[in-house]
Symmetry: C2
Subunit: 256 residues, 2 copies
């Protein structure tokens, strides 16, 4: 007899399944069978691949990217512990985006069938999932406006605030918890990589950031917010400036 590790033993308190499903239901899931481990830079799923279910991030940091023309990418979203990847639309069965781990990541894969029966049995789960999607939708709608109207400097400042918001910064050394390359920052902001270099220099001159090797330390969040103030970005302000240290600051670059 093989030993079954119930989903109940999972330590992720953000997990939608654990939070909103009946305990009987939770017990039906074998954690060891749904968990998938990924290293940094691994694809969790790829644009064009078939959708058989959704992924919950148990622990880790992920970027969702849409590949564009001539190798240009657009990072449409960042996601971390407890968030959902690989949502489907009506009857659409292929991913329009890819998900890539930025640090070592564990996801739980729940296939369509199981998910559907979970929904039918647990109305609270469905409501929470719906709320989650509607909240992501409004966030993307807002970011969309930024990408169109902001200057390069503003877009990059906004990207830092966004990274800080989703992944947090290390309390002690103020480094971003998940270091991102210049190219990735460019892909988030929708600008060219060379422009990122230039703006970083300017930010450094203004003491908004400092650099240690290739990593970036956010020194003055209020200063960054000031740059984008006219777009009244309230959601990145006050809250979450102090956040837990999830990972040692270098894991994102690990090459295993």
């Amino acid at each position: 007899m093989s030993e079954k590790i119930s989903c109940k033993n999972c330590d992720n308190s953000f997990c939608f399944i654990r939070q909103y499903c009946s305990s009987g239901w939770v017990n039906r899931i074998d954690l060891s069978k749904v968990q998938i481990h990924h290293h940094a830079k691994d694809n969790i799923f790829r644009e064009g691949g078939y959708v058989y279910g959704v992924y919950f991030i148990q622990r880790g940091n992920v970027k969702i990217i849409a590949t564009g023309v001539n190798n240009r990418e657009q990072i449409v979203r960042l996601a971390s512990d407890g968030q959902i990847l690989g949502h489907r639309g009506n009857g659409v069965d292929k991913y329009p985006v890819s998900a890539v781990a930025l640090s070592d990541t564990v996801v739980c894969f729940i296939d369509n069938e199981m998910l559907h029966s979970a929904f039918m049995d647990n109305p609270k789960l469905t409501i929470e999932m719906m709320t989650y999607y509607s909240s992501e939708l409004r966030k993307v709608e807002i970011r969309m406006k930024y990408l169109v109207q902001m200057t390069v400097k503003e877009k990059i400042a906004e990207s830092f605030l966004y990274i800080q918001k989703v992944f947090g910064i290390n309390k002690i050394n103020k480094m971003l918890n998940v270091p991102m390359s210049r190219q990735e920052i460019a892909d988030m902001s929708g600008v060219m990589q060379v422009q990122v270099s230039r703006e970083l220099k300017e930010f450094e001159d203004q003491n908004l950031i400092t650099r240690q090797g290739r990593e970036i330390r956010l020194m003055d969040l209020a200063g960054l917010q000031y740059i984008v103030r006219k777009y009244n970005i309230a959601q990145y302000a006050e809250q979450d400036i102090e956040q837990d240290v999830y990972y040692p600051p270098s894991i994102g670059y690990s090459n295993r």
Copy 2:
């Protein structure tokens, strides 16, 4: 005794409530009390206003806009019959965007309390709503990439395809069912209004469109698709090119 008109009598077959709630439940709603009529250019709700519920479009055409810096607007989404407006996020209680009627529009307002009890009683409804949001989310994610990577010409071509997709074109005269101003096309595409004028001229020279007064007739959808081909925009293709005529082509400009 006042006469109650049940939600059952509503003629909108797309309505989520009618489709996915038990008939007993549907009967509880008094259609005459939830319906709100709007003229073209009316605000359905405004950025910054408090969220007391959601709106279902019973009939009409709506743009969702985010107001930006110095009177610049960004149209983040178009919506038509059966679609949902005014989704909330977690604990957020203010609209981040405005919804404006583009033609005469009827919406049904369902307050938070009623919606929540509908969700608890009708799991299918919740699932459908969730699917709707997740599908809108992926659409916005894709449009986000376009807005960043496309040239002005491409963005405008894409906007026409998007309008045609959501609102349809008149079968007979090929006019867009809901005419939009140059400014609105600019706000969708994230470009300046003068550029729209210039590109329209070019499109006309290439026989992709013709103009009648200020209204635009799409002559060559395949040609427009050709312009944006390298972004492989599959979702606007084949389907829906022939669509019902919802409204006389001029109502969108009516000034009542």
